[in-house]
Symmetry: C2
Subunit: 457 residues, 2 copies
């Protein structure tokens, strides 16, 4: 519990109305998209880096846990007060500070919504590539803390690849600057990328400088339906081997296609075992040829139907199935666990087969969405968190799934993070010495362990 | 000094002939391309990660410094025994272990030469983009330790952007694995990128997994000569603002052009104040249009001559000036200091003006080569290291130069590293707290400070 005098100190820093503690407010901040609830002791909403610095000095002195939280869209539980403490929210720090089209970069506060930045930079014919599914809600601060990815990752990479510099408040209240505004920088240890993906455990991000790229002038969208998931996977290999790098290369498996069909989201052949949604972007002169090549690869590999959009409306229609997928799947059972196991691209068919096998073995309903171009699978486990017996089987299936992903040279998490969702699996991926190094780094930044201490370490 | 019994222990691990200590051998390993000499106490050349682990256990126990060294091409002095110790060389670990065209990655040992990897992956129509000027000699282990860049950086980024995973021997001999083979990975702290650019101070890299990209099917090369350096810089901005991202965008200033002309390297108009060498790559259908657009921008911005290559031979001829530059400059005075100050792209003309001003102020001959597309300048200071008075002025000019770069939002080093060359400047870029964090990280990995302790921290 936090004493009245400390609450008063916090209020005097951020303003009377920006420290919350009513039961309603605490309930609001008690969970994120991972859906495990931990009631915090309070919520603080600062407006400046200086306020954050002063809040952290108090927290450090009083050993109060601080858990930074953007929009709470992460699905690994990395923004909840698992060990008690104060949630720090950033919706007062939501300004785009600068867009510099000549140096192709932007400077933003952590509370800026991803899609808002995208929209602004498009006015300069520029693009900020990372596009997590939650982009209309999630914030850049959260994106950096979780190193967010998205469908465009296969061509454009993830948040880490667009970070130039950060302002960060350390747990002791000191503000440090890492990186800068230059595209190249090899000065000192790469603290920028160390903080990226650290899930709010090392410092509080107060300013972010990102790199921008030219907005592609055109795109082409195709959809191909296969009666065999291996054919779809082989098509992915053919496309990549041909030297075409699609901006998006999404795979939907039979289980999810059936759910979408039943939901009324889209129509497919009853034989459909897999669907590929493929988008290429760039200069229009090159796209026509690329679209035709992709169509050819799909047909050669046995696609039973290929549709190529010839207008923006048609493209939107092709995206329909993919966009409906989460809603359709969520409607089926009380809960849907979105997993994130990731493997080298060529092991994708093997991993999909493994998931089908696990669904069978543990009597579970598991569908697969995949960013197939980069081997990033999202197995969707349709379940009921209240059904303890079923959840026991889910846990066993997850155990086997991560074991399989790692044995194929893959990872626990491609883009969703570890948080409290996967912390018990981390020793599958890392040796005790690697984990000890990570713990040591945590101690260097945060000797009193007050920053998001419930998260993965 | 290292005792006879320890030398014997080392020999028993790596093999009798792979521990060197004759004066000739020690002299060979006493300097790198930074040219400051420190005679090491010995040279050890291991063949396996296991041997390295055993060597490190002895070094850690006996507090013997170990300085890993690839081909010694770094120009910041990050591979010399400044504080004594043993140089560890990697030419026995020079095998490409795997090229996986389907998952678009390769696994190599640290001693593989950059150009050898490039050549091998081209057989699969793939490309490993980082292309430091020393690519025909330098090794991947060194590239990772220094986070090497190169002319293609403006489009393709640097070594860090192609790293998927590492095997690393810690100073205590424990081998850890970071990252993996997947394109996406957000599991735990990003140790892979923390070790990249750490200049051999955190661990010994024994295996490297890199991402590959499709080899562009064609390229177009142009050269434009300007009578005003500002016009050249504005052309760079025009090209980038148009949405074209050249693979290479090099600038050569008047001082260097004159040296090249006098050296007989190439012919230019006597009015030439700056030259741009521009290369675009990709699908041939798009390149024709891009080449024409670039030609148009150059002429609109006042280029006095524009040449567009229509064959590989013509392209090679256009590269002639750039390739001759270092040789020509080196022939002029006993020494050439290659600097690496980097600024946001739009500050490039300002930074070039600053360098001209400093040359004048301190009576020095300074030319500029620049990877203009990413703001990475290479001021070339033609001097004589024996002339103490002149070197005093060089030091003052460097001081002013870094001050200026950092005040423009730039960095001490875009791609060459800090090493012993710039360690005294590091507090210009980083606050004491940021440096303290870096020192803390160093202690976590290397509590006895035996790994390259002479380098930047």
């Amino acid at each position: 519990m936090i004493s009245t005098s400390i609450k008063q100190e916090l209020r005097s820093i951020v303003g009377e109305e920006w420290f919350l503690e009513t039961p309603e407010d605490l309930a609001t901040y008690s969970y994120d998209a991972f859906l495990q609830e931990y009631t915090p002791d309070g919520v603080v909403i600062p407006e400046t880096a200086d306020q954050i610095s002063r809040v952290m000095q108090i927290a450090n002195r009083e050993r109060i846990n601080i858990i930074p939280r953007g929009a709470g869209t992460n699905i690994c539980g990395s923004s909840v007060a698992r060990k008690g403490g104060i949630i720090m929210a950033f919706h007062r720090m939501n300004r785009i500070l600068e867009i510099d089209p000549e140096s192709m970069c932007a400077v933003v506060q952590p509370g800026v919504v991803n899609a808002d930045l995208q929209k602004e930079v498009e006015k300069y014919r520029l693009m900020y590539p990372p596009d997590p599914a939650s982009m209309f809600v999630c914030t850049l601060g959260g994106n950096v803390a979780l190193n967010a990815g998205g469908p465009r990752g296969v061509k454009y990479g993830v948040t880490r690849d667009y970070l130039l510099g950060l302002d960060v408040v350390l747990p002791n209240g000191v503000i440090i600057r890492t990186g800068g505004k230059t595209l190249k920088n090899v000065s000192g240890y790469d603290l920028t990328r160390l903080i990226c993906g650290s899930e709010g455990t090392l410092g509080i991000i107060t300013e972010i400088t990102v790199r921008l790229v030219p907005l592609p002038s055109a795109k082409a969208t195709l959809q191909a339906v296969f009666s065999d998931v291996d054919d779809a996977a082989k098509t992915v290999s053919s496309i990549i081997a041909s030297g075409i790098v699609p901006a998006t290369l999404e795979l939907i498996d039979r289980v999810v296609l059936n759910v979408i069909r039943d939901y009324g989201g889209a129509e497919f052949s009853p034989e459909a075992e897999a669907l590929l949604l493929i988008e290429v972007d760039g200069q229009s002169s090159a796209l026509e040829a690329q679209g035709k090549s992709i169509e050819k690869f799909c047909k050669e590999r046995g696609a039973i139907q290929v549709d190529r959009a010839t207008s923006a409306e048609e493209a939107e229609k092709l995206w329909q199935a993919r966009r409906t997928a989460f809603g359709a799947v969520a409607s089926l059972r009380p809960n849907c666990i979105v997993e994130d196991a990731t493997v080298p691209v060529k092991r994708l068919p093997e991993m999909i087969r493994k998931i089908v096998e696990l669904a069978d073995k543990y009597a579970l309903k598991i569908g697969v969405l995949a960013h197939a171009g980069d081997g990033n699978l999202h197995p969707l486990i349709m379940t009921d968190l209240q059904d303890k017996k079923e959840i026991g089987r889910v846990d066993k299936a997850l155990d086997d799934m991560y074991e399989a992903a790692i044995s194929m040279g893959g990872t626990l998490s491609g883009e969703h993070g570890i948080g409290i969702a996967k912390d018990r699996f981390i020793s599958k991926e890392f040796s005790p010495s690697a984990i000890e190094i990570m713990r040591g780094i945590k101690r260097v930044f945060d000797p009193n362990n007050i920053l998001n201490p419930g998260s993965f370490l």
